[in-house]
Amino acid sequence: MFRLLVEKELREIIGTTKFAVTFGVCSVLILLAFYVGARNFQVSQAEYEAARAENIKQMEGLTDWGRIDHRIFLPPQPLTTLVSGISNDIGRTTEMQTQGELRSENSRFNEDPIFAVFRFLDLEFIFSIVMSLFAILFAYDAINGEKERGTLRLSFANPVPRATYILSKLVGAFLALGVPLLIPILIGCVMLPLMGIPMTGSAWGRLAMVVLAGYLYLGVFLTLSVFVSALTEKSSNSFLLLLVIWIFAVLIIPRTAVLISGRAVDVPSIDKVNYDKNRYMAQLWLEDREKMQNYSRENPPSQDGDMQAWMDDFRAFMSELSDVRNEKMSDFGGRLNEERRNRELVQQRLALGIARLSPTSVFSLASTDLSGTSLDLKERYIEAANRYQETYAQFIREKTGSAGGFMFTMRGGQDEEEPPPIDPYELPVFEYEEPSSTTLINDSLFDLGLLVLFNIVFFAGAFVAFLRYDVR
């Protein structure tokens, strides 16, 4: 019985021109997403390499480690281009300095606003649009359409349990829509290594999880559609209702959620924070200047004595001052940042909490978590940069003997020997490592669970509604 019903469902969906058309469009879009993602990765990779090479090149021939402009860059990851998340909004370039706060700049959308106009076409976008529309289009009349055609009465003139019927409806629709979609997805996956995308085992695993999330998302809209169609008498009504739900879920709820929480939770503006920091810095500097002024007054270089020795002493004094100052500064800045970060987290939790009313946001959060392009990416990049900063500062300290930051170099009028040029390749290399797949998958578990929950709730709804459905 169940098999028969599922078979009928499959035949009914796959045999139609509607299916041929929509399946064709969806396949093209999915393939496009893979292709575009792969191309994007190639371009970003090339840009990344070029930027790094140029960064090293511009240091060649310099003689003083204290005068280099060193930048580090966020390398593109294969999954980043498939599920771009916020990767285009955050700064990719970080000006390296031995101390003080690092700031990432040059977000892709800031540098190329052209891409910000229409944004990117990535796998997550295609999935969230295609999967949901696909599901609605084929399941909006699952129950009431059969009633309108009179086939529901006919079917239930036979000894068919309602539970079997509705279950077969869902399973049939899921198979009919999901299995064909695997074709373009698999072709897309084959395309990745062919286009030279270095997919690691972890990346493959996470991509599979993204696809899984996509299927759960498809399931949500399928069960929802069957649910709505079991609640309404006329298929035109259920379609209208589903379309409105779709607009809200895909386009409205996620955006408004964030904007509402933006109004509800106050986060001190970054300008204010920067201002406070600058002010504190200026104050510290003012105090230290006093000390420096006094130093030369209190410890005048001996008239006949060794100028060099005095300079060394002075340098040591300056270095100490600057160390103390920087420590205070980083304490202060750290505190401000943390305060702001905490407020931000509150805001974020509220925003994402509301946004999760929509399965589309849930899917989007799950997939960005999986591909490492969620909001955490920014934090992770900054953390990695901070870790690197320590290595870098250590390196520069070894090279120049100074703590850096306040570079106090004195070029006397005397002839000095021209120092040998530096070798920029000695610089420690910045490696951004994506967190382990376990971490990323763990991050996404909550949202994956929510998707499952949506499925269960809507299925239960459809089930109950259908049990009381008037089949006449």
Partner: protein
């Protein structure tokens, strides 16, 4: 006859339960978007005001003109409520100093990445995505639906000319769908007034034009719906076709076009260009340093063999002039650096402009992108927003640099006066008292006049009109041969 047909069309739309639902949703969304937009704008203004004050405060608190760092901020623009465009994507401020070049940084989305996750919702977005969908929802069965219900036969069993019928269909649908929309739009404008958003006359005219363009865009989708419904026999088919077309127009084509353009025209990345500039700058400064050392050695040659007293005397006499010379040299060098940077930037900008042109040309296959481009141009939140601000900030930087440069020379003269006679005292920073910043030039946001806004959108408005006319023409012609049975 025409009046009868028109009236019926109007009634058919207004009486359908579909209308109540969609009209409610649209009104809610339009009002919501404007309300949120106004709130965001106000928050933006607050942030801007504070930031400006803080920047000024910082300048005032500096004690030496050598340490003055100024910042210029991008002013929030009330039009962003309706069409936010790339407003949140490009930087809000630029450092203004004699040492660094102008560069907009710290975009709103960079600072508050949370908002980048699901992006923005504004009036344009609602019109572009939601209203277009609703236009389709109301017109997909305009012709073939009447055929299916048999009313087409009944109607044409009367002496009804097809042309008139079609015209009435279109006008009825248009009035029935557009006029109700004017209600939430008017309410939205009321919100703007009541919440006291400072709108100038120019901005009002831009806004009204924007609403006009929105209606034109909406009209296009009504026409498209009519066309497809006059081309197909069954309403389910026409709906499917329209939905696919909608997905392509609204969601896919614009994105695909820009990405294609990105692939076809390659632009060096910013990181690359920055490094190039760094390289040049470092080279020049190194050269300058070496030159200066050589010069000083040369200058001090006559003092060779003098005793300490004479040496000081010698130095004191000539130092002001020499420092002046050094300053001049430095300024020449800095100008050269600026020139080089300008050239590199211009190269980059030309490439980008080329890419952008291609992207826009390709994307204009979709009326949806035409609409978006037109509204962004009108609102001044298009991609040129960045260059417009950077240009004006550069001009400001020049004024600022001249002013500060003069102040610095003054300051140094004063210091040297004080120092005269003292021996070997290190100078860290300037005087004790705060700087007098009252004469400091202030940054004025670039103006964006109506012709400037409307000029670039003429082509898009024209395209929208053209698309609509083509669709209507197509619908008309195909209806003349439509099989009413």
């Amino acid at each position: 006859m025409f009046a009868t047909l028109f009236e019926k069309e109007l009634k058919a739309i207004l009486l359908s339960p579909k209308f109540v639902a969609t009209f409610g949703v649209c009104s809610l969304l339009i009002l919501l978007s404007v309300f949120i937009g106004v709130q965001e704008y106000k928050a933006g203004v607050d942030q801007y005001d504070t930031a400006m004050q803080l920047a000024e405060q910082e300048v005032r608190e500096a004690t030496s003109w050598w340490g003055v760092n100024n910042r210029a901020y991008r002013q929030p623009n009330p039009m962003q409520i309706f069409a936010s465009g790339v407003n949140n994507d490009i930087g809000r401020l630029s450092n203004i100093s004699t040492w660094t070049e102008v560069k907009l940084q710290q975009s709103a989305y960079l600072d508050n990445s949370l908002f980048a996750v699901f992006r923005f919702i504004d009036f344009t977005f609602i019109v572009q995505v939601v209203l277009s969908l609703f236009a389709i929802l109301f017109t997909y069965n305009a012709i073939n639906g009447e055929r299916e219900s048999g009313t087409l036969k009944l109607t044409f069993s009367n002496a009804v000319p097809r042309g008139q019928y079609m015209l009435a269909k279109f006008l009825g649908a248009w009035v029935g769908l557009v006029v109700p929309l004017l209600i939430p739009i008017t309410l939205a404008l009321l919100i703007v007034v009541v919440l006291q958003v400072p709108m100038t006359g120019v901005e009002w005219s831009k806004l009204l034009t924007l609403i006009g363009v929105s209606i034109l865009y909406f009209t296009f989708f009504i026409m498209l719906g009519l066309l497809v419904s006059a081309l197909t026999k069954r309403s389910t088919v026409s709906f499917l076709v329209l939905l696919v077309v909608w997905v392509l127009f609204v969601l896919i084509l614009p994105r695909a076009a820009t990405m294609a353009a990105g692939q076809i025209i390659e632009v060096p990345s910013v990181a690359e260009v920055e490094s190039q500039k760094d390289r040049y700058r470092t080279d020049r400064w190194t050269a300058y340093g070496e030159e200066r050392s050589a010069k000083w050695r040369e200058r001090m040659e006559p003092a060779e063999g003098m005793n300490e007293e004479e040496r000081t005397q010698f130095l004191e006499e000539r130092r002001p002039q020499w420092m002046q010379e050094d300053d001049d040299d430095r300024q020449v060098m800095q100008e050269e650096i600026a020139e080089f940077e300008r050239k590199v930037n211009e190269d980059l900008r030309n490439r980008k402009a080329e890419q952008e042109r291609l992207a826009f040309v390709l994307s204009r296959f979709s009326p949806s992108s035409s609409y978006q481009l037109a509204t962004m141009n009108l609102a001044g939140t298009n991609t040129t927003l960045k260059t417009r601000y950077e240009e004006s900030m550069k001009a400001y930087r020049t004024a600022f640099a001249q002013f500060v440069e003069a102040k610095r020379i003054e300051e140094r003269k004063k210091l040297m006066e004080q120092q005269r006679g003292q021996r070997r005292v290190m100078i860290f920073g300037g005087g004790e008292e705060a700087l007098d910043v009252s004469e400091l030039p202030r940054y004025e946001a670039p103006s964006h006049t109506f012709p400037e806004a409307f000029g670039p959108s003429v082509i898009d408005v024209g395209l929208l009109a053209l698309f609509s006319v083509i669709c209507f023409g197509g619908a008309f012609v195909s209806f003349l041969r439509y099989d009413v049975r």
